[in-house]
Symmetry: C2
Subunit: 340 residues, 2 copies
Amino acid sequence: MPATIRDVARASGVHISTVSRTFSAPHLVNPETRSRVLACAENLGYRPNRAARALITGRTHNVGLIVADLANPFFPPLIKAAESQARHRDYHIFVTDTNEDPAVEEELIHALAKQVDGILLCSPRLNNSLIEQLSREVPLVLINRQVAGLPAVVMDVGQGARLAIEHLIGLGHHQIGLLGGPRGSWTNREIRRAVTAAARSADAVLTGIGPNQPTEAGGAAVAEQVRRSGVTAVLAYNDLMAIGLIEELDALGVRVPADISVVGIDDIALSRRIRPRLTTVANPTPAAGRAAVDMLLQRAGDDRRTTAQVTLQTELVIRDSTAPPPATRTAVVLASHVKE
Amino acid sequence: MPATIRDVARASGVHISTVSRTFSAPHLVNPETRSRVLACAENLGYRPNRAARALITGRTHNVGLIVADLANPFFPPLIKAAESQARHRDYHIFVTDTNEDPAVEEELIHALAKQVDGILLCSPRLNNSLIEQLSREVPLVLINRQVAGLPAVVMDVGQGARLAIEHLIGLGHHQIGLLGGPRGSWTNREIRRAVTAAARSADAVLTGIGPNQPTEAGGAAVAEQVRRSGVTAVLAYNDLMAIGLIEELDALGVRVPADISVVGIDDIALSRRIRPRLTTVANPTPAAGRAAVDMLLQRAGDDRRTTAQVTLQTELVIRDSTAPPPATRTAVVLASHVKE
DNA sequence: GTGAAAGCGCTAACAC
DNA sequence: GTGTTAGCGCTTTCAC
């Protein structure tokens, strides 16, 4: 049986409220009493029960972290950083996985609401109005998503995507494919917005392909379509798709970057390991995890109305999967606008 | 303000204990009353407060999961499977990361003990007696570690390592290097035990190198030592080390598998992506995560004295990083026993 | 500076 | 089948 506050009170000859103060407001108790209580507590292996404390203070010292897919290598570095940051602030993290399913996401927010002081929503797939509504039930901090009035940490993927397109155009590409991500992805919309603008101002032609699953299978599935579309370069929604695409193109006899250039987004560890090493847009995911935790704890503290939005910079990392288009290629225009 | 049991009682005109029963023992309440209460609850958005419930039942419906390094690709599939399994049983998971530090591990177990019904200890670095002692504070299920009297799920890495050695010997290797993992690793000891036995019965000579960090950097750091040791094949503690080693050997002008064969352990996603594709021992990590959750919940249930140990099979996956040793090589014996 | 008492939201005997 | 009561472990007034 674990020691309770009463055991410590008995052992140190004081009232339980004095023990309570020793842990939650030490300055209110006589130094001598305090050290005696502390000694007894140590002795009994006493630790305040956080659940009981939460019942009365309303602060659980727990936070939730909801991600679309734990197995997607984009998330672990973010989770690790968030967990570490939270722990150093004396918080614990519930980590959950929605399998990219908005319904699961909503249910999880409800289920966690009472046990946490706030939830970090990572690349949520829910629509804006639902998110806003849920944020009235429990403090929410968004990661890679912007909703008016809600605190958010976003990585400026639009900027990175623009650099990627400019890089491709600089290499001489005019027919560029854009592999879309999952439905409901804010990141996806940001990318398309930035890329469309960049392409227009350079007279490049964009071919939208998607929505797709944000996985290697999703990338592989559209390889044939990419090959037939006549594009000489592709920007994928994320590295996983880019890698799946490259593999499958290779199986179809299409060489990257000789025949088609491919750019990813995220810069997961895998991307510098594969051959050709992937040109990609690097996201500062650990920094995003830390920043989101800080915003949540600050917000959960006194000022509930903090709605800051932090934007972290991304960076184009040029490796070996991009090159000038094949000179001998016949110009074939199969698409002249961005398709949904 | 979230609705409490009292709000629901008031709205449905019954006593709070009836509301309580409606949720925790529905069969004890009149179907008509029940549906009325349920309707009011739904209406008010009421959800039982688990912390309050835990205070009296002693069951939190939470479990802890402690891993050495969230960013090590070995863990995410296990975490994902465990989280999913737990959620389907109406449990939530605290995920924490120890950074391979035993002191952090111990502190986390203490910190989590009161808020969970049990803890999944994944590849713990603590010593046996400490683990045993901690298991008296909170139910523990070990993953990839065996301690007498404690429930555990282990992947039979010894068996996989033996197959790996036999594979190498079958290819004609006699001088084999063994890259050790971190200090305190049970897996590491199992591997060495199995490998030593397999090598002895085939008159192969083993050179132990380590302990090492279980990362790519750890593998890269010993490349020079591997090259000079005269071995023609290496079994690494895990895939990450094997990959780091291959990269660095490549930089030193040593070819894999032409000059040196390399085998990893784990079969992380990365291993089939790199070139040469890595020969490795596949671990059923999702199955281990699920099994561990099941054991913990069963144990946390009625029978606290269940101490089953489940062993999951591993499998040798032969890819392109292993080949016969170079025929022209002069036999050089620099080591004739397994070093620590 | 410390004790007494109330109560956070809920469950679990025990009556009726 | 439902209401009453006590209390899980803790914090927080309010006295003294």
